[in-house]
């Protein structure tokens, strides 16, 4: 079964996911790549800012904040946790 692709911006705090692709262009793309947002990277959504934007995620052992607008450029696959096992 094909897993549903989501945008990073659609995830909820607490969700864990894997990056499938980054569709940003130019400088934004380079910035995201430099901060380690590349295909195959696992991350966890920690929270949204009190005003609802930006988003804070945890990846590669550090914390990164990015706006919803940038998060929309990142397609991800949610890692569903069922009975403690990663499906």
């Amino acid at each position: 079964m094909q897993k549903k692709q989501l945008k990073m911006s659609e995830l909820k705090p607490g969700d864990k996911a894997v990056i499938i692709a980054v569709s940003a262009q130019g400088e934004v793309a380079q910035r995201l790549v430099d901060m380690g947002l590349i295909k195959g990277t696992q991350f966890k959504v920690l929270r949204k800012a009190p005003l609802g934007d930006p988003l804070e995620i945890q990846l590669r052992g550090f914390l990164l904040a990015l706006r919803m607008k940038e998060a929309e450029c990142v397609s991800v696959e949610r890692k569903e946790v069922l009975n403690g096992k990663t499906k």
């Binding site: 380079q30 790549v33 929270r47 949204k48 804070e56 052992g61 990164l64 706006r67 940038e70």
Partner: protein
């Protein structure tokens, strides 16, 4: 054999928050020199340390995550290392966050320069029970890796040892070069071969580095290669190679190179680091669950800011009282020592009243800077940007605008420079235009003086906070106005690391505070001293001989009057002397200038004396207080032992409404000369600078007028 030079230039490179600056301080101690990078206004720290007969010269490169030359920080780092200005690169990495930090190391290794890696925060690494296989890491990276802790001053000697040994070529670890994907490697070696057809001119850089940079479309590498005979062949082949590679990769080459570097960093990390229980909640998680809480986040943010301003006023008041008393005391003592005349007047009314008036506020400024340094070094400043970004984005600014704007509370000059972090020109200019509304430290003395003169002590802290809030409000509205009119367009993306919380060392906070405060002191010693003297001159000259004669006659008449007692005579003489001083001041250049602009500021309730002070304030804001100090010192010859605040309060020409209007005017009108010139330099266009001056003057006048008229109804 050539005798080796005894000076080793070491460049510190590393990620922001890798503890680079603390390591720098741990090595160099207080022997540091602060300057600017040539052509760019990013702070440059240099220090020096003697070690085993070597002079180790340290250059702190700006913190950066990568070297793609998108930002000035990256460009500086690249140029400095590529041009071999450093003998050894000291790559500072955060041992608790090795994977992300190794990404930059991978890029630094491409330069093929002598390099030592300082694995910083090793005390935390041990505490977290992270095990690192140093031998393996050294083999993978091909350079020495030394565990250090800048905070605990651990491993510094061992690190210096390795720097010296690396410099002397005593360490030869076989280099396992970072290898890229097969297709990329093929392209690299083809370009390398082409470059190497002209060996002589490429002695300066490694051909591999140039090849990689050419693949990344790096302007610096392109410019360099173009000067070489090898360009004849490269010019034709390079685009072909790149096109073929891009087709094979099905993505941008630079992107693939970055991905490969990440893979290398991840690989090196996985092979060498063993981490215990990764899922455990960290202290940062707990703190953030409160500070970044959806409900508490904003109130906490406001509370922290409010606290700093309260502390600035309340705590600062005590030592401020002492320093002011000291200068009054000093003035009195010198008055006794020096004979009456021009010299005494210059020293007492000019220098002491002027510079002393400014230095008197040093405690307030130290506390404010202390607070800002504390927020910076704990890691809260980035959180603040995170919390406010949405709101800032709404008004057209960027969460990152927050940091320059907060810096603006200290001084506009570094704040304008900090705007370089904003890469979008519209964002940057809009932020720069509103920074001066974030009330700078130099304006603080004016508020403190006026508030303590006209308002009860219980209200002082709140009024001060309100002044700052008012400035922020004006900034916000102006930003909205600018971004929806003249600086329309897209905003920069917000992609920012939130560093883990760290308890800063007292030493490092005090150091940062001192560096900022030192700038202020230096200004007090130079610009403000000069301006105080100029103000003294224009307040004292020209002297009207006619007035002098007139009053001499009057005073003589009183003295000759036998109907008066000695006591009354003395009083009358004092009154006349005072009147004379006033009239002479009006007659002076300052008085004339003040009178000239009085019609302009009359609607705001200001008289010509404030006109003089405000005009002098164009040069530097502290001078507003200094000038008032000088004017009143000359004006009230009989009240020498009263403080300026007392004199203002007892002067019938002033009242709380005028005080408020004056505060608003000083808050908003054009910043000092040095700030304006930096603004111009950073904005790069005269048109924008002129518009800025016009805008701030208009805003200051209109809002002061409103504040004056409204508060007159209530106060």
């Amino acid at each position: 054999m050539e005798k080796p030079s005894k000076t080793i230039v070491v460049a510190l490179a590393g990620n922001p928050n890798s503890g680079k600056s603390s390591l720098f301080n741990a090595i160099a101690g207080t022997h540091l020199k602060v300057g600017n990078w040539p052509g760019v206004t990013i702070e440059k720290y240099e220090g020096q340390v003697d070690y085993k007969g070597y002079k180790i010269k340290l250059v702190d490169l700006p913190g950066t995550y990568s070297i793609n030359a998108y930002s000035p920080e990256e460009t500086i780092t690249r140029d400095f290392i590529a041009e071999k200005k450093a003998d050894v690169i000291l790559n500072v990495v955060d041992g608790t966050n090795l994977e992300r930090n190794l990404y930059l190391s991978a890029q630094l290794l491409e330069f093929d320069a002598k390099m030592v890696i300082a694995l910083n925060m090793y005390d935390e690494v041990e505490k977290k029970k992270i095990k690192i296989d140093f031998k393996m890491l050294q083999k993978l990276l091909g350079c020495q890796v030394v565990p250090v802790s800048a905070v605990k001053k651990m491993g510094i000697e061992a690190m210096l040892d390795q720097i010296v040994r690396t410099y002397e070529n005593k360490i030869t670890i076989p280099r396992d070069k970072i290898s890229y994907s097969q297709e990329v490697e093929a392209a690299i070696s083809e370009i390398q071969n082409l470059i190497e057809t002209d060996i002589r001119s490429f002695k300066k850089f490694s051909s591999r580095w140039l090849a990689i940079k050419l693949l990344e479309n790096d302007v610096f590498a392109q410019a360099y290669v173009k000067q070489s005979p090898a360009w004849v062949k490269l010019e034709k082949r390079l685009p072909e190679i790149m096109k073929a590679l891009e087709n094979k990769l099905e993505e941008k080459i630079s992107q693939r190179l970055s991905v490969d570097r990440h893979a290398f960093a991840r690989g090196a990390y996985k092979e060498t680091v063993e981490k215990a229980n990764e899922e455990k909640k960290t202290i940062t998680d707990y703190i953030d669950s409160v500070l970044l809480n959806r409900i508490l986040g904003l109130p906490v943010f406001f509370f922290i800011m409010w606290l700093i301003f309260q502390a600035t006023f309340t705590l600062g008041k005590i030592p401020t009282g002492w320093t002011q008393d000291f200068f009054v005391f000093l003035g009195d003592k010198i008055s006794v020592l020096l004979p009456a005349g021009v010299l005494r007047s210059v020293v007492v009314d000019g220098i002491i009243a002027g510079v002393g008036g400014v230095l008197g506020f040093m405690p307030n400024i130290l506390i404010l800077f202390l607070g800002l340094s504390f927020l910076e070094s704990t890691g809260y400043m980035a959180r603040a940007a995170f919390v406010v970004d949405r709101a800032f984005h709404k008004i057209g600014l960027h969460g990152k605008s927050f940091i320059p704007m907060v810096t603006g509370f200290g001084c506009s000059v570094p704040a304008f420079m900090a705007c370089r972090a904003l890469k979008n020109r519209g964002d940057r200019l809009a932020t720069m235009m509103v920074i001066p509304f974030m009330s700078c430290g130099a304006k603080l003395p004016v508020y403190v003086l006026l508030i303590s003169a006209f308002f009860p002590a219980s209200m002082a802290g709140n009024i001060l906070f309100a002044v700052y809030l008012f400035g922020i409000l004006v900034a916000v509205l102006s930003a909205k106005l600018f971004k929806s009119t003249i600086f329309k367009g897209n905003s920069e993306p917000f992609v920012m690391e939130l560093p883990v919380y760290r308890a800063p060392t007292l030493r490092s906070i005090l150091m940062q505070m001192w560096l900022k405060a030192w700038m202020y002191l230096k200004r007090a010693g130079t610009i403000i001293l000069t301006i105080s003297l100029i103000v003294w001159v224009i307040c004292n000259y020209p002297v009207s001989g006619q007035l002098n004669q007139q009053y001499e006659v009057k005073i003589e008449t009183v003295k000759q009057n036998i109907n008066l007692t000695a006591e009354i005579k003395k009083q009358e003489v004092a009154v006349f002397k005072n009147e004379l001083a006033s009239k002479q001041l009006e007659y002076s250049f300052a008085g004339r200038t003040g009178k000239m602009i009085e019609p302009l500021i009359k609607p705001l309730g200001f008289d010509w004396r404030l006109g003089v002070a405000l005009t002098a304030g164009f040069a530097a804001k502290e001078v507003v207080v200094a000038t008032m100090g000088t004017i009143y010192a000359l004006d009230g010859a009989d009240k020498k032992n009263e403080s300026l605040a007392q004199r203002l309060r007892s002067d019938p020409a002033y009242n709380p409404a005028i005080a408020l209007a004056l505060i608003v005017f000083v808050l908003l009108y054009v910043p000092c000369l040095s700030a304006t010139s930096v603004f111009h330099q950073e904005a790069g266009e005269l048109k924008i600078t002129l518009f800025y001056i016009f805008y701030s003057m208009t805003a200051a006048w209109v809002l002061s007028f409103i504040v004056y008229r409204v508060s007159k109804l209530f106060l």
